[in-house]
């Protein structure tokens, strides 16, 4: 469980590792419609820090296999990471997704997708990992109280999970101190 949770959290932190690992794909690249192929392409893009570009591929994979919880979770993470991805344009650092309206839509879709992943998942350990992902999305959006509630759900499933406990303690501290 701990490894899975760490992996899940680590994937979220991909946002911090935006160093390109290879040439950028053409902006016009489209998903193939084959879930496995699109998922592989999405992961490759994600590893290059191209979160915004990975979204259509993750979405295609999730639409191709709609009952697979993990695909919705990956799509959720990609959507969320895309809202935080930065680029350089003109003489300033800008969001890769230029409009805050679009970022808000992606953020909301990320929350809907992670909820869908939760709804589809039956295994407690995996489910608690998904609650952690949902918590991290909330936290990075600035919703500390919601993030803490999600951890509670995760802890109900895996009460002794150290990562969940540590995250809960950190969020409690933020709520108490306000920062």
């Amino acid at each position: 469980m701990q490894g899975r949770v760490i992996l899940a959290a680590g994937l979220l932190l991909l946002v911090a590792s935006c160093a390109p690992g290879g040439p950028s794909p053409p902006a016009t690249e489209r998903p193939s419609g084959v879930p496995q192929a699109d998922f592989a392409r999405a992961v490759a893009l994600q590893r290059q820090g191209e979160h915004a570009r990975s979204v259509p591929f993750f979405r295609s994979a999730a639409e191709g296999e709609p009952d697979v919880s993990g695909l919705h979770a990956e799509l959720a993470k990609a959507l969320h990471n895309a809202t935080l991805q930065m680029g350089f344009s003109g003489h300033g650092v800008r969001f890769a997704v230029a409009r805050s309206q679009d970022r808000a839509r992606m953020r909301n879709e990320a929350l809907a997708e992670i909820q869908r992943a939760i709804d589809l998942e039956g295994r407690p350990r995996e489910l608690s990992a998904l609650w952690l992902i949902r918590s991290r999305i909330f936290e990075q959006c600035g919703y500390v109280a919601d993030a803490r509630v999600c951890l509670e759900r995760g802890l109900e499933l895996e009460p002794g999970e150290p990562v969940l406990i540590a995250s809960a303690a950190r969020l409690d501290a933020r709520l108490r101190a306000g920062h």
Binding site: A27, T83, L84, G87, S89, G90, H91, G92, V93, R94, F95, A96, V97, A98, R99, S100, Q101, A104, R105, R107, N108, L111, A112, Q140, C141, G142, Y143, V144, A145, D146, R148, V149, D172, R174, L175, R176, A177, G178, H179
Partner: protein, 725 residues
């Protein structure tokens, strides 16, 4: 298109090509000087066909739009003296996805490329110029540089182009050289296209390749079209000029790669016609807006400029309109800015863009009911709710759409849930919204006063609009929770001995706490008086009435504007007058207010004007000064005025208030102060002219204090005798 024509003509007509092309695209301006070639100096060497073409071109170009006279070429631009370094202007258009930044010795930046002009007339280099407008109410930018031998003048006209769901902006530029004092000679102009990064531009899917040259190449299309072509990045031009005949050149510049391919098409309409069309369209936009006449054309122009900045800080997307903080570095929506933008536009009668901007904010709403544009900015939900009331409560009382009513109810439920989470988990902060981390403004994470002030304002706005929408039960529930919320804040303020900090849980920069009274109404007048927030307004004597941000040298153009309106409510009108004066003095030649600037250097760094919220602040200062309806159940007229306005006689026409559209006239004739206004169904409070007190009170009118009178509902005219205080 023109580039295709140009290339084909290059092949078949040789040296005649430019003249014929000029006729074809309506650009019979100037002459070409190819690098290294002899100057073509006289038309007498042209073939007859070319002479005919040239003689027709001015007609085609000038139908219904005569060429400017020498007087026009010499006329000073209209606008304030620009106090900033560098001097800039913005060429804007409502809804456009791009804007042009104008700087220095005439440089036009599109964000990824720029066109810069250098010139010389009879040995005198083109001097540095100043920006302004050709006339009041014009969206056109004029640049004028006065030398000893000639006056250089450029008019830069916004040319909006509908492109699917977007509006993209091109610029039509005419540059003239008008010799002075009987001088005649040759004017020379070097026009350079170069890569540019004056301001960041949004990541765009437009992959149209551009050739930074004055001719189409295999690599792409040029972003600018001049009166001639050249292979390289520099186009040299030359023309004879004398007092009766100015040298004159025209350029079309695309603001985005997509428009570059359409420049030839755009050039077919003459510059003068483009100018007339832009002015007419902007006049049509302003036609229904609130008008303030106070006998001060410069102030009235300031209002028009601020409205242009506000409507210019929008982007159209089909039928939707989104507010953006600034056309340059802040080309994105922050709810905290767009809400104020919608409010100011609503207060000045521009209901359509105000409603559209407010409606766009509703699109931020998540499944849970929250509205947030930037992570950690938890005040967004309250601000978006408040913005709806700002646009739906004023004027003729437009029906509240079901979608907005639903949005408001969901937003309130989300806020209540968030507050309940805090109540359960952190009793020390019970009743407040969770901690925010705006990564901006307060620059601190914590329980921010602004989050709660705006949330409370949102509750009250929601209650008002839901009641109007017929959802009385929901409105009652929200009103009860708002009352309880206000009690929580009051109790906390009392525990802090009346202080209103930016953050309850630690140090933070003053921000949302400055909005505690106006516009959020989160505290009472008495609490505002005790808190002493107004004392923060006078830190920089030279910019008195404004607030500073972070350092005493950093003057902020809107941070303190709410406090300046507060000052009117607590009887400190001089603070409001100082704020107004300082705001007016901090404008570019085309009326753009930056967000902040350094007092010592008068620089604003990369934070280029105009800032939408700074423009909104100026408009709200004025509008709420003359006709206050931001809070309470009383229409307050002439709360903030200048003595000169009274002497000249002043009018406010078509001002949408929460009690209907109001016309107001006020005047001081000797000792007799008079008001005439559209009667409203609530009490009206009248404030006498500055430095005067009311001597006698007419029948039916109550004296609130020496300066203020209360007039019962339904009455719309009062005259009183005043004396000096």
């Amino acid at each position: 298109m023109a580039a295709y024509i140009r290339d084909r003509l290059d092949v078949v007509r040789g040296k005649q090509r430019e003249e014929v092309l000029e006729g074809a695209v309506g650009m019979a301006y100037g002459e070409e000087m190819h690098p290294g070639s002899n100057l073509r100096s006289a038309g007498w060497r042209m073939p007859a066909l070319v002479i005919i073409a040239l003689s027709l071109a001015p007609c085609a170009a000038g139908c219904g739009a005569p060429r400017p006279s020498a007087d026009a070429a010499l006329r000073e631009p209209l606008g304030p003296s620009d106090p900033f370094t560098p001097r800039t202007a913005a060429l804007l258009w409502p809804g456009a996805t791009n804007a042009f930044l104008l700087t220095g010795r005439l440089r036009l930046s599109a964000g990824t490329f720029a066109v810069e002009w250098h010139g010389e007339f009879e040995g005198e280099p083109m001097p540095e110029g100043r920006f302004g407008r050709p006339r009041a109410g014009s969206p056109v930018v004029v640049w004028l540089a006065r030398g000893e031998r000639a006056v250089w003048r450029a008019t830069l006209v916004p040319v909006p182009v509908e492109d699917g769901d977007a509006t993209r902006l091109a610029a039509s530029v005419e540059l003239t050289v008008q010799p002075l004092a009987g001088t005649r000679g040759r004017a020379r102009l070097a026009c350079a296209i170069a890569p540019d990064s004056s301001f960041p531009v949004p990541a765009d899917g437009d992959a149209t390749p551009l050739a930074l040259a004055w001719r189409r190449t295999r690599d792409g299309v040029p972003p600018a079209l001049g009166p001639a072509s050249a292979d390289g990045a520099v186009l040299d031009l030359s023309s004879g000029a004398e007092p009766s005949r100015a040298a004159r050149w025209r350029f079309l510049i695309a603001g985005s790669p997509r428009l570059a391919a359409r420049l030839g098409e755009l050039a077919r309409q003459p510059h003068a016609a483009r100018l007339a069309a832009a002015e007419q369209e902007w006049a049509n936009t302003l036609a229904g807006s609130t008008r303030l006449s106070v006998g001060d054309p410069a102030l009235e122009q300031a209002v028009d400029e601020a409205l242009l900045a506000l409507v210019g800080c929008t982007e159209r997307d089909g039928l939707a309109l989104r507010g953006i903080g600034n056309p340059f570095q802040y080309r994105d929506t922050w709810i905290r800015d767009a809400a104020r933008q919608a409010s100011a536009l609503s207060q000045w009668g521009l209901a359509a863009p105000a409603s559209a901007i407010a409606a766009d904010l509703a699109g931020f709403q998540g499944e849970a009911g929250d509205l947030m544009s930037q992570p950690g900015q938890l005040d967004g939900t309250g601000q978006a709710m408040w913005a709806q009331a700002e646009v739906f409560s004023r004027g003729t009382g437009t029906a509240v759409p079901d979608s907005i009513a639903s949005m408001l109810a969901r937003a309130w439920r989300w806020c209540e849930r968030e507050r309940s989470l805090v109540r359960e988990r952190v009793p020390a902060y019970a009743g407040l919204m969770p901690p925010a981390d705006p990564r901006d403004n307060e620059l601190a994470a914590g329980y921010l006063f602004g989050t709660d002030a705006w949330t409370l304002a949102g509750y009250r706005s929601a209650a008002t609009l839901l009641e109007r929408a017929g959802a009385r039960a929901s409105a009652d529930s929200i009103r009860r929770s708002a009352d309880a919320y206000a009690d929580v804040l009051s109790a906390r303020i009392a525990r802090e001995r009346g202080m209103i900090p930016a953050c309850w849980s630690g140090p933070a920069r003053d921000w949302g706490n400055y909005a505690a009274l106006v516009p959020t109404g989160a505290i009472s007048l008495a609490e505002a008086g005790h808190a002493g927030l107004l004392s923060t307004l006078s830190r920089v004597a030279e910019a008195s009435g404004l607030a500073t941000y972070a350092t005493q040298d950093t003057v902020h153009l809107y941070l303190g504007s709410d406090l300046a309106v507060d000052a009117l409510l607590v009887g400190r009108a001089p603070a409001w007058r100082k704020a107004l004066g300082s705001c007016l003095a901090a404008r570019t030649g085309t009326g753009g207010l930056p967000e902040l600037f350094s007092w010592s250097t008068h620089g604003f760094g990369g934070n280029l004007p105009p800032h939408a919220t700074a423009a909104a602040a100026l408009l709200v200062l004025l509008r709420q000064g003359v006709a206050f309806d931001a809070l309470g159940d009383t229409l307050r007229l002439t709360l903030g005025t200048l003595g000169e306005w009274w002497k000249a006689g002043a009018n406010l026409e078509r001002a949408p208030t929460r009690w209907g559209v109001v016309d107001l006239a006020f005047h001081l004739d000797g000792a007799r102060a008079s008001w005439r206004w559209t009667p409203v169904p609530v009490w009206t409070e009248l404030t006498v002219p500055p430095d005067m007190v009311a001597d006698a009170v007419p029948d039916g009118v109550r004296r609130k204090d020496a300066h203020r009178l209360l007039v019962p509902p339904g009455r719309g005219q009062v005259e009183v005798t005043c004396r000096a205080e």
